[in-house]
Symmetry: D3
Subunit: 237 residues, 6 copies
């Protein structure tokens, strides 16, 4: 169903994490979806872009202090200023879940710089402030303490594990209310195109279901349904 | 407080899971409530109906593929077409929480067929689509991957465990924002009637509390309060 | 940054849990924040007041019944009538998470009596009713069963552990969407004042970030930024 | 099967936690067993005695220091010197599992003083030293840090929750490799006697099973089997 | 490396779960290993045989009583008398972990009947008795309460999920100290033969490692190492 | 109590993780102990040496295959050949717990090369083989699948988080049955010396306890006890 063509802006803006996950499974990738993270902002509940990675390790009391955290050599601060426009800053919090991995000032700076959004497998803080920014932030839970009470940034742009998913710099991150999927860079265009096609087909199938048809033969679609769908598409275009 | 009479439609539409749970405890049932599942749709946050059960087991890679999942002999698909009008489709996901137990097309079909709603102790996918349907779906968390990446349906209409609660086909399922309770079929009418009465009594008590009374003697109600309540009811009717 | 002066009403009404947590860390307290609890009411998502503590232990079947629960000697009921106006009723549920630690009638009574709010590290029940009260309730999850199916109150006004945080009667409780922090009583004024100052400074910093400045030198603020901030404050006042 | 007579020393020395649990269930107590704790010493894997309770709460950094821990007013130290000869010191660690709730010196002192043993729902430290004492210690896991890094003792001889089980001072504690059960004091003699009888009957049944009989009619025993057992007992005595 | 020949008794008696798991992965099966269960008896820490399945669901208080549990129609009791000689009784406990899924009398009967062993993803009870039988029992943890306090048997010989692994009647179960693997019946002979060959090869490699060789080129083995191994085998036979 | 002198071999061979943890807390380090990992070999239950770190991330299906795992460029294999004699190979498994982080051949090679031992916060495989080597392996649980079914090595000698503890290359690792502690390199000598002194003092205190003394004034030791201890030491030397 995928023709290999370049993913268009429309595809990127609407393709669902659910269909991407299904297309990844088809290609042998069963473990590419980050579970149990959700968008903080109802008004910014989609995320899309190439991964810029950040890796946290547990804090050490003599190193993890407010001032040391702010040094420009700190990988967290470097990430905030270096993650390219359009990228998604994605963080591996090493399972640490008692402090916020980012707060509102860092989020505001990323938004200002044109970064596409943040994905963290740990909590956020300053949540009521972040909710007022129109900026996609996907994370797990809430926590008041600053990051340095439990974690410290170790490096950027290395392969990480985010929520159990291997993530390499440049992998394509797509997220919506179902969760976040990480697409290996070299198959991203193909997967996104195929997933977008799947979304269109499923919308067609769902419309027929809502008109009262049984799912038998319809979902997954029989050959006949697929050719009716082709007809429908040609009429529409 | 229960007179054993048949539960009326009004009772069914408003009785609270909290009072049902209390009435079940009174009858010796301390473990009839499914914890940690919530309604996906704010506009459809109540569920009521007899259980139609579905049992999942972990997937096996050679059996759990998209096409095989769609075969009409697949118990999941059979459930979608067979769960009776008015029933609640309730699923035991065997503790599997990394893929969606149902997606929007199956949910749409159940809604079309007049099923009352879905309860799953696992995640859902296509959540933004499901949120737009006026149909009660109670589940735990979100996940982008299709069900077959972690689970496959084993059978329907057998006794299951949903979220730690033994559920038999025909048991009465009642859910609201507090969670979902499962009432053994042969005591359901009695429990629902008594719980509805308890709801009315507690609304009366709460009104008095909101007028400034202490809970001492009022909650739980003394004999005097109970007779004042009887008076109040008779005046009202 | 703290001048030790008494925290004003304005400070109390707006100070963030995030900044309080940072100020506590500065003073050597790294473990004063309750994770994974959230406000039930979007319209009452801040809490502030001195702690009135309640301790639950697991229920024992012969003691944990509805009527016994209602006796005025029951510490839960005593807490409802005794927690002082303005205080925060804070409960240690001993890790029990399958029944509601409070329901709507008790919440209504606390609200009537002028208590500031409730914090529980366990679930609530009667959630749809509680959502309609304009009263702060911070808890973890939802559960339909009444408290006595899994827990019973043991005593009040003793030191407790709430969500992993040591809480003494009189400690100052502050909560918002980031979570709840517990400030030791004798440093509360100082911590709140300093946190409020930090909030103001961070709002100033964030405004500059939103105007396009880099965080380098700005956050954490350099000496220069701090003196510019002082200027800004004086102009403003 | 219980005749209500006083539990003899033989009963106390051999009665199984498994049968006690079954007898408690018969009397309506389904939640009296502490799961997931095990004896540290293979050579001291039984424990028996009335409960002396100790309650921990989370540490607070300014209070939880080595020297303060050692003050004789510290409830932990008081417990070590006050728990009566023959009693079981049982601790509620409030879910804190990253530091040892007791170490070898305190254990040695309890052993010296004739206390029957320790039950904790948290970890122990100095495990290799404790393994060399012939003294029953039941706990959950291991941890190197001293108790004061995560917990501090709050009081003694109050009702506690140990591993999810309500425990009152004076309750009878019985433990073996299956776990630890807590028997309400006023039914302890009756439960222990009945459980001991059950142990004898089950040993008889198991001997017949090992001689090749089917469990049908034998386990649970039919009337005929019960009368054969009575005969067997009379012959034996 | 597998020649498809029938697995010999020697293979069955020694093949490692680790190598079987590796062979299953080679064939596309990444999820066939039950984690976190261990053998109770040090002297019986291997298990092998075709699966006879048993499925538990949560107990319901009116059905889960001692006497009802003993009825011969109870699937648990039926399993005990019907599981064929040589088979492995494998149980899905539906995530219930607070009561023993089997006790010593049932284990003794299975041993007497020539069943090969038991695998349960829940706890066992009567552990000190079971430790004295020379019979393989693989389970997770310990618990004193009888099974009926938290679970009841629903049916036998249906597909189940044991510890997250889909298990069909007749699948081949192999377990050792690394855990338990479940081999789909129709590839079992092939997988076991190949795994046994892998074990032999790895023993050879390990011997060379213990003689001081680097793993480079040796593990995984280069073509040269593989031909040296062939030579070694021929010399040996 | 520490005189800053270099830690002797005797100190290194016997110092306890428990006392090291206490000394670290004294210096402000409350989070330096890895919980819930245990030695596999009863005969090799102590570990000591400078850290050589290895970092795993989740596997990606197209990269995580047996042969790719064996390439000498694979950081896992590099670690096996490069970890210096005397060092402790310590691995961050990124929370992945369903496959073995190391197996017997790799362990044998490390042992051969004179590495001091292995610490992993994930499971091991080939456990029965490893148990026969006299080599310290500290890990969490058991798993049959090879590492590449869930994880792949990302790099070596970078700062990692092992079981929630920040670990830098060169940090001193000490482990025994209480768990594993990680000492920052620049305070290691001082901490170990002080901990060894603490062990000696506590052995003296315990001997007095075993002779019947109360812990009051003895533990923690009063000034008088400390001077008696000094006397005892001088007599002894």
């Amino acid at each position: 169903m995928s023709d290999g063509q370049t993913a268009t802006k429309k595809m990127r803006d609407s393709v669902s994490a659910a269909s991407i996950s299904a297309q990844l499974v088809k290609r042998g990738f069963r473990t590419r979806s980050i579970a149990n993270i959700t968008p903080i902002n109802p008004s910014a509940n989609r995320i899309y872009g190439p991964a810029y990675t950040l890796r946290y390790i547990p804090m050490r009391e003599d190193l993890a202090t407010g001032p040391k955290t702010g040094q420009s050599s700190n990988p967290q601060r470097r990430a905030i200023e270096e993650a390219p426009k359009g990228s998604v800053l994605i963080a591996d919090t090493n399972g640490l879940d008692v402090s916020g991995s980012f707060g509102d000032i860092l989020v505001a700076r990323l938004s200002q710089r044109g970064v596409s959004g943040i994905v963290s497998d740990g909590p956020m803080r300053d949540i009521s402030e972040i909710k007022q920014m129109n900026f996609p932030v996907f994370s797990k839970g809430n926590a008041a303490p600053p990051s340095y009470t439990s974690m410290m940034a170790a490096d950027t742009q290395v392969p990480i594990g985010c929520g159990g998913v291997a993530t390499f710099p440049g992998d394509i991150i797509v997220g919506d209310e179902d969760g976040v999927v990480v697409i290996p860079q070299d198959i991203a265009e193909d997967v996104i195109t195929a997933a977008y096609e799947q979304d269109l087909l499923e919308a067609y199938i769902r419309a027929r279901v809502e008109n009262g048809e049984s799912i038998v033969g319809l979902y997954p679609p029989s050959e006949r349904v697929l050719s009716e769908y082709e007809e429908f598409r040609q009429e529409k275009s």
